[in-house]
């Protein structure tokens, strides 16, 4: 694996060999691809000999990416039983918190209409000059919805972090 597999082109011509720079000045001699896959370029057959070979840096293995990661991701990709089980577990965990939190958020939406319907006196309670239903429907649900959403985001990201840690450890 190349250490530079990201978006940064892994050019390593800091050595400043003049031939390379001259190359780029002449469009005719320009390398056909602009650096993105230069790790691959290095593996290609040598170019015609009338120019100096460009200096390339090839990293065949990277200690930061242990082999086991590739193995587990490969298991996920090839849908082995182990990989399948991992994904299923993650899905179940995510679905469970989604359902529980949906139920929490639905409490006012399910409970309030029927409470107001059954108990008109509850609907007539006044708090600081405003009728209670107006506060309960007009103000209270919005912080509740945001809070539940925020909590879900935290939990879901934690599940995913755990999953990644498990896969990569």
């Amino acid at each position: 694996m190349s250490r530079h597999s990201g978006d940064q082109p892994p050019r390593d011509d800091r050595a400043g060999d003049g031939a390379d720079r001259a190359d780029r000045a002449h469009p005719a001699h320009r390398a056909p691809e602009s650096g993105r896959d230069s790790a691959w370029e290095a593996l290609r057959p040598a170019k015609p000999a009338n120019r100096a070979p460009r200096r390339k840096r090839v990293v065949l293995n990277d200690s930061r990416n242990p082999v086991t990661v590739l193995r587990t991701i490969g298991e996920l990709e090839e849908q082995t039983t182990v990989g399948e089980m991992l994904v299923r577990n993650l899905m179940h965990a995510q679905f469970r918190i989604a359902v529980v939190l949906a139920a929490v958020a639905s409490v006012p939406m399910v409970g309030l209409p029927v409470a107001f319907y059954l108990s008109p006196s509850f609907a007539d309670v006044t708090v600081i000059g405003v009728r209670l239903p107006w506060l309960l429907i007009g103000v209270l649900p919005f912080p509740l919805l945001f809070g539940v959403g925020y909590l879900y985001n935290r939990l879901a990201e934690r599940h995913e972090r755990d999953f990644v840690n498990m896969v990569e450890s």
């Binding site: 896959d37 994904v87 899905m91 309030l112 319907y117 919005f142 919805l145 945001f146 879900y152 985001n153």
Partner: protein
């Protein structure tokens, strides 16, 4: 209606800024992925403002306050449902939806279930929902424009469609993202500032103006009022009132003084002029609470109203995730995690916004009760500042609200046009940038024609129908498709056809019943409580019965949708289909890890 030069200036300003922002960012857009999903590089704070900006339509900006004026506290469920829909979207759909790599809703259906036929079916319903949603926006734009200046009702719709099409033409999703993010803040300011000022005026104002909203009487007119009824209306009278009428009352010609006793209902024909003296109790449109006491109390309408409330909540809670213009914005997030964060941010922005229509709606009950007579309560908050604060201050506040209302029409309409055009251009046409532009033009023209031809209704009610349709078609397919491996395309198609068919037939029955004496029961106007469970059940049962149609790559799709972004399983289908050779090579050679 008098023209308000400040309000016209406000609308021109919003139109000009919208055009400029769209033009400015459209120079960056030139590929199909740009037009469809803004190249999926929108960061979450801007995307959240854009989603909120697009979502806060005329129904939220004008409609909720209008319904509060008319129907009272029960209308607050609209605001709750509109916001809660995004929570359902966050919990069940947002991240997996983004990771599926689809670029439209039909594309998701095909990616998940591998059926081109299902894709076409979804296309039909996306276009239907989009047009249903667009028509009331344009009609309300017409109503707004004809309120502030003497133009015919179709002019507002034309203005909106022209501006939207110009922007969408230029840069599709890429250019409207900035516009919509800007328009969220315009809308928030345009409601919050007047709400604060009017509340201050109200609490420090003359006691004579302060009616009590809890007494068992209808609202009173503060000054002598003349009203010309544009569409025929049934009025219920709860307190006796003397008035001058010129035109047709109860089918008989009337010309002069009239007495309406309490407890009676009167039919007022179009073109009739009613003159009420100052302090007269206001008769209300039949079916809405007549007295302030019943207006103040929730669930005063009996058991069928209770079911109606639940039906509305279900439609809004589950329908939001099926709205094409909301979903398409989720595809513009770079990752599934960003999609979730965006949604949490949206919940915050929406919660902030929805505090204000309530305040303005309640104030409107005090200051503009005459709208209850015509039933055109959607314009309540446009007229409110002028009534509370006569003179320049009121006109200036009215101008701010009118500008905000136009921001609402423009942002929602552009979102709808982009989503419908994205679907049409990639499914019915080859999907080039040129096709996208033609599709946008077609969608806008069709919606405009319908808006002119169809009779206008309350914007929140007609928008509610789009939610019911979305909740009964796409919601089951999305939720079940994301979380259940055994969904088949047959089950999904059956659910969409049956759920959508039921909602559409309810719509037809409702229209027929309105013309023949309003005999339809509650579930015809608000069908979601019945149709959503039926749609879910159909999808589940038919899928179980057709397990041999299970897609072969279901495990791979599930992995792609649920595996964390860092593992790099996302494959953006728009790049696969429309991207440059280099982008495609990057996708197929190696996974692009984030």
């Amino acid at each position: 209606m008098d023209s308000n030069p400040l309000a016209i200036a406000g609308i021109v300003f919003i139109g000009a800024v919208t055009w400029y922002l769209g033009f400015h960012s459209s120079r960056l857009a030139n590929t199909t992925p740009d037009f469809l999903v803004a190249r999926r590089i929108v960061r979450s704070s801007r995307n959240a403002a854009a989603i909120a900006g697009e979502y806060l339509s005329a129904a939220s900006f004008l409609g909720i306050a209008g319904l509060i004026l008319k129907d009272g506290v029960d209308s607050l469920w609209y605001a709750v449902g509109f916001a809660a829909g995004h929570l359902a979207l966050l919990l069940f759909v947002a991240a997996p939806m983004r990771r599926s790599g689809a670029y439209t809703l039909p594309d998701f259906a095909e990616a998940r279930l591998g059926s081109a036929g299902l894709r076409m079916l979804c296309t039909v319903f996306v276009v239907l929902i989009g047009i249903f949603y667009l028509v009331p926006q344009l009609q309300t734009a017409g109503l707004t424009l004809s309120t502030i200046m003497p133009v015919p009702p179709w002019a507002g719709g034309v203005v909106v469609i022209v501006l939207v099409t110009v922007n969408v033409f230029g840069g599709g999703m890429r250019s409207i993202t900035v516009v919509q993010a800007f328009q969220y803040w315009v809308k928030l300011f345009a409601l919050a500032a007047p709400a604060f000022i009017l509340i201050m005026v109200f609490t420090t104002g003359h006691p004579a103006n302060q009616q009590v909203l809890s007494d068992n009487a209808p609202p009173h007119l503060s000054s002598a009022t003349t009203i010309t009824v544009q569409t025929p209306v049934d009025l219920q009278v709860t307190a006796e009132v003397w008035l001058q009428a010129h035109g047709t009352l109860d089918g008989r010609p009337a010309n002069g003084g009239t007495y309406w006793g309490p407890g009676t209902t009167h039919v007022v024909s179009a073109g009739t002029t009613l003159e009420f003296p100052a302090g007269a109790p206001v008769p209300t449109v039949d079916g809405s609470p007549g007295t302030n006491a019943s207006w103040l109390r929730p669930e005063a309408g009996g058991l069928s109203a209770l079911f109606g409330t639940y039906s509305l909540i279900i439609a809004l809670f589950l329908g939001t995730m099926g709205l094409p213009h909301v979903l398409v914005r989720f595809y513009t997030n770079p990752t599934g995690r960003a999609a979730r964060r965006t949604t949490v941010h949206v919940l915050l922005l929406l919660g902030l916004f929805y505090l204000f229509p309530t305040v303005l709606g309640a104030l409107a009950r005090l200051y503009v009760p005459e709208l209850l007579i015509t039933g055109q309560t959607d314009i309540a908050i446009l007229l409110l500042p002028g009534k509370v604060l006569p003179g320049f201050a009121g006109e200036a506040l009215g101008a701010v609200i009118a500008a905000g209302a136009f921001a609402a029409f423009l942002s929602t309409s552009s979102g709808l046009v982009v989503s419908v055009a994205g679907v049409l251009s990639t499914d019915a046409l080859p999907g080039r940038v040129r096709d996208f532009r033609w599709a946008a033009l077609t969608a806008g023209a069709v919606a405009l024609a319908l808006a002119v031809l169809l009779p206008p209704g309350d914007v929140s009610l007609s928008v509610g129908l789009s939610f019911a349709l979305a909740a009964s078609t796409f919601c089951p397919v999305l939720v079940i498709g994301i979380w259940w491996r055994r969904l088949t395309w047959v089950g999904a198609a059956a659910g969409i056809v049956i759920g959508g068919g039921l909602v559409l037939s309810a719509l037809v029955v409702n229209i027929v019943s309105e013309y023949t004496g309003a005999w339809a029961p509650w579930f015809v106007a608000q069908p979601a409580l019945i149709t959503v469970p039926i749609a879910f059940g159909t999808v589940l049962l038919v899928s179980l019965a057709t397990q041999r149609h299970l897609p072969l790559d279901v495990s791979r799709i599930m992995l792609r949708m649920h595996a964390p972004d860092r593992l790099g399983f996302i494959r953006d289908r728009d790049i696969v289909r429309f991207g440059t050779a280099e982008e495609q090579a990057r996708l197929t050679n190696g996974k692009h890890r984030r």
